[in-house]
């Protein structure tokens, strides 16, 4: 079953990384269940990018009460998957808008302030980049530095399920 899923995901990768254009990929039909088999939790808290912050200033962003209260709980967020450094990944960045730059590959491109790092228990191949995806998982807050890449994150979701919308 796992192998079957893997080959399905690999074919998805070929589509996503290869020649697909915005118009020709029948994404509505694609429903991606990654191989961690947890179904989406019933009582996931719905969270939007607009609801994450209570305020911003030059001296930093303040987390909203909704975000703080959801720490450690299951949340569901929709956004866009930024193209990762490699097709097979342990984490990716969820953004409000599709990324028009590639901070992983360009030294003078940087991430927007409001990003969520989605951590995966097993590597997963890429989902589409130009259409929204939904992520469900456990919310984590606080500074963490990825040991392999040095990537600093503040808001993370330990993903239980991913879905192309």
């Amino acid at each position: 079953m796992k192998n079957l899923l893997r080959s399905f995901l690999l074919s998805l990768l070929l589509l996503a990384a290869g020649m697909f254009t915005a118009a020709d990929l029948p994404l509505k039909a694609v429903h991606c269940e990654p191989p961690f088999l947890c179904s989406r939790a019933e009582a996931a808290i719905s969270m939007t990018f607009d609801e994450m912050y209570a305020g911003v200033s030059s001296l930093g962003i303040t987390f909203s009460d909704k975000l703080k209260n959801a720490e450690g709980q299951t949340v569901q967020m929709a956004g866009f998957m930024a193209p990762p450094l490699t097709p097979t990944i342990n984490f990716f960045v969820l953004t409000r808008e599709p990324m028009s730059i590639c901070p992983f590959c360009s030294t003078d491109a940087d991430w927007p302030a409001d990003i969520v790092v989605v951590q995966l228990t097993e590597p997963v191949v890429a989902l589409p980049f130009d259409r929204p995806i939904s992520v469900t998982g456990t919310l984590e807050l606080g500074t963490e530095v990825d040991a392999e890449t040095g990537f600093v994150s503040l808001v993370r979701i330990q993903a239980q399920s991913l879905e192309a919308l």
Binding site: Y53, V56, G150
Partner: protein, 600 residues
């Protein structure tokens, strides 16, 4: 002799070519008898990498590092200056370092103390490289007390023309007025290449303005060696360091971008890698190049890592460091306006990232676009405050003001947002002109772009007769005139989206969709899908296949020459076609800087 015979060979080849194609008479157009053609060949890379490079020009006394690099391991470096051993000549001992497959010999922090020609020879592993330098101590007859350098990032001639059309309009075929920057006494055409490539980025070009030396893409204040360390490259002293050291002048940098971004950063810092913005923020606190006024965006590089919104990778609080050094911090426009008038040191950071552009910040004010930064000052206000503050120093001041988003908006093919920010830059130029006129005309004002973009005005665009897309692009006589209006006389068109707008085409772009209309919300032309950029599905319009590599998701810089305008003492230096490094020499000549003063 060899040179001449080569030239003859070339001439013969051209003649043969022309004869074959039956247009031999045209040969005279190529090689008229009375002209000595210079001739040139493709430059080959010398295995001995000598930095500063051949043809470098120095201000007398300007500090620099001399480096010689060869591949592999080596320890038998012999370097002479005008025939004298370099260590003896400079009175300093060199060091040797092997890293990343190369060996680098370095004599740090030296200077030429006499004007004239200098010849440096470097021998390593039996191979030789020779560099001929020029050292100048030229000083203007009538000197400037202050210099204000305006950099319109990416402000090509065409970008300026878009700003002029929108801001001033035309009647009877003539412009109703010119931009402030176009009303200056002196003008030059500036060539923009670095020493690595025909096409420059903003770090490399700003570095030429700040140091008078060529550099390479992504680098500032350094020549580039081959080691991976972005901080060990040979440095050259920059304008802020020079005016502080030799004259005790006040200095300032103002920009609408991250203040650690390439152009403002190059005025004071030294790194091979412009992306080291956290380092750049921190190095701004060091006395020898610490500006008295720092205003712009990009607080994310100044606040500690644990604070949400930070991009630092440590918990250094650079804002607090500046406050400890006596700086007054302002985080928004209100705080800037409330900063006491007698403060002589200001750190103003008004956005976590780049500041929002004029259209979004001052006109549309869409909360989603501003993302909570609803109270940002404009470039004109920042320029006014910077001049007020810096002009208190009796020794004069150097101020760099950058209109950064002309470039950033042309990259995303949003010429309307670029044009409004270009107008804003021009109004900031007006502030400087007013200051100069009211204070004895002893300020040199320079306005220059750092590189161009391939945006060009084809005609106009409208859909009034039902045509859309390319059929609605109006060319030649059908173009007529756009219907922008500035009824309130603030210099900005009242509506960025009139019935008849400009038809602007870009010479290079990624896959994108084009509808020629103003975008109410900033929208990128393409998005990244894996390693390829594809047309942004959120953009309406006709699909325009890209003509640059697929990895490029934005329109890219062009190698086109740019314009420089100047007024005030020393501005007479600028005329004709000039290399970008000459902007530096024009500034230090105007100030009459003696680079040997207060040497360590």
């Amino acid at each position: 002799m060899k040179f001449i015979s080569k030239q003859r060979k070339t001439a013969a080849a051209i003649c043969a070519f022309l004869s074959i194609f039956g247009c031999a008479a045209a040969g005279n157009l190529y090689l008229p008898a009375h002209v000595e053609a210079a001739g040139y060949t493709v430059q080959e890379k010398n295995p001995v990498n000598l930095m500063p490079i051949n043809r470098a020009k120095f201000l007398k006394g300007q500090r620099f590092d001399l480096q010689v690099e060869v591949k592999g391991v080596a320890n038998n470096f012999k370097v002479t200056v005008d025939g004298v051993d370099a260590e003896k000549y400079f009175g300093k001992t060199g060091t040797v370092k092997t890293a990343d497959g190369v060996t680098v010999y370095c004599i740090s922090d030296v200077a030429f103390t006499k004007a004239g020609d200098v010849k440096v020879e470097a021998v390593a592993d039996g191979k030789k490289n020779v560099a001929n330098y020029t050292v100048t101590d030229a000083k203007a007859k009538k000197k400037a007390k202050n210099v204000i350098l305006f950099v319109g990032d990416g402000m090509s001639l065409q970008a300026r023309e878009m700003a002029r059309i929108l801001s001033k309009g035309l009647s009877d075929g003539k412009y109703n007025d010119l931009l402030n920057m176009e009303k200056m006494d002196h003008m030059a055409v500036i060539t923009t290449s670095g020493y690595d490539s025909l096409v420059t980025d903003s770090a490399n070009s700003a570095s030429a303005y700040a140091t008078g030396h060529k550099s390479v893409n992504n680098a500032m204040g350094v020549y580039a060696n081959s080691t991976k360390d972005p901080f060990d490259d040979p440095k050259v002293e920059n304008i802020i360091e020079l005016v502080k050291r030799t004259k005790g002048m006040a200095t300032g940098i103002v920009s609408t971008s991250n203040i650690t971004d390439a152009t403002p950063a190059a005025m004071l810092s030294h790194t091979r890698r412009r992306a080291e913005q956290n380092f750049i923020a921190e190095t701004m606190t060091e006395d020898y190049h610490r500006p008295d006024v720092i205003m712009g965006g990009g607080s994310r590089h100044f606040i500690p890592m644990d604070t949400p919104g930070s991009k630092r990778k440590d918990n250094v609080n650079v804002v607090e460091k500046f406050q400890d050094l006596g700086y007054t911090f302002s985080g928004n426009r209100t705080e800037l306006l409330n900063t006491p008038a007698d403060e002589d040191k200001i750190l103003g950071l008004y956005q976590l990232d780049n500041m929002n552009v004029y259209i979004d910040r001052a006109m549309l004010k869409n909360p989603k676009v501003l993302g909570g930064f609803n109270d940002q000052p404009g470039l004109v206000e920042m320029t006014e405050r910077a001049i007020d503050t810096l002009s208190k120093n009796e020794n004069g001041f150097f101020l760099m003001v950058e209109g950064a988003c002309v470039d950033k908006q042309l990259h995303v093919m949003d010429w309307q947002r670029a044009a409004y920010d270009n107008i804003e830059l021009d109004q900031a130029v007006g502030v400087a002109q007013k200051f100069a006129a009211e204070n004895g005309n002893d300020t040199l004002i320079i306005v220059v772009a750092d590189h161009a973009h391939g945006a060009s005005i084809t005609g106009t665009y409208h859909e009034l007769d039902g045509k859309t897309g390319r059929e609605a692009v109006r060319t030649y006589a059908a173009a007529g005139w756009p219907t922008f209006e500035d009824r309130d006389g603030d210099g900005y068109p009242d509506n960025p989206d009139p019935d008849v707008t400009l038809a602007v085409h870009f010479a290079n772009h990624p896959d994108t969709n084009i509808d020629y209309k103003f975008k109410q919300v900033p929208t990128a032309p393409a998005i990244m899908a894996g390693d390829k950029a594809i047309a942004n599905p959120n953009l309406k319009g006709e699909f325009a296949p890209g003509n640059i590599p697929y990895k490029e998701s934005q329109e890219v810089h062009s190698a086109d020459d740019v314009l420089l305008n100047a007024m005030g003492p020393g501005s007479e230096y600028f005329n004709g076609v000039m290399d970008n490094t000459e902007v530096f020499f024009g500034m230090v000549r105007a100030l009459g800087i003696d680079g040997t003063k207060n040497a360590k």
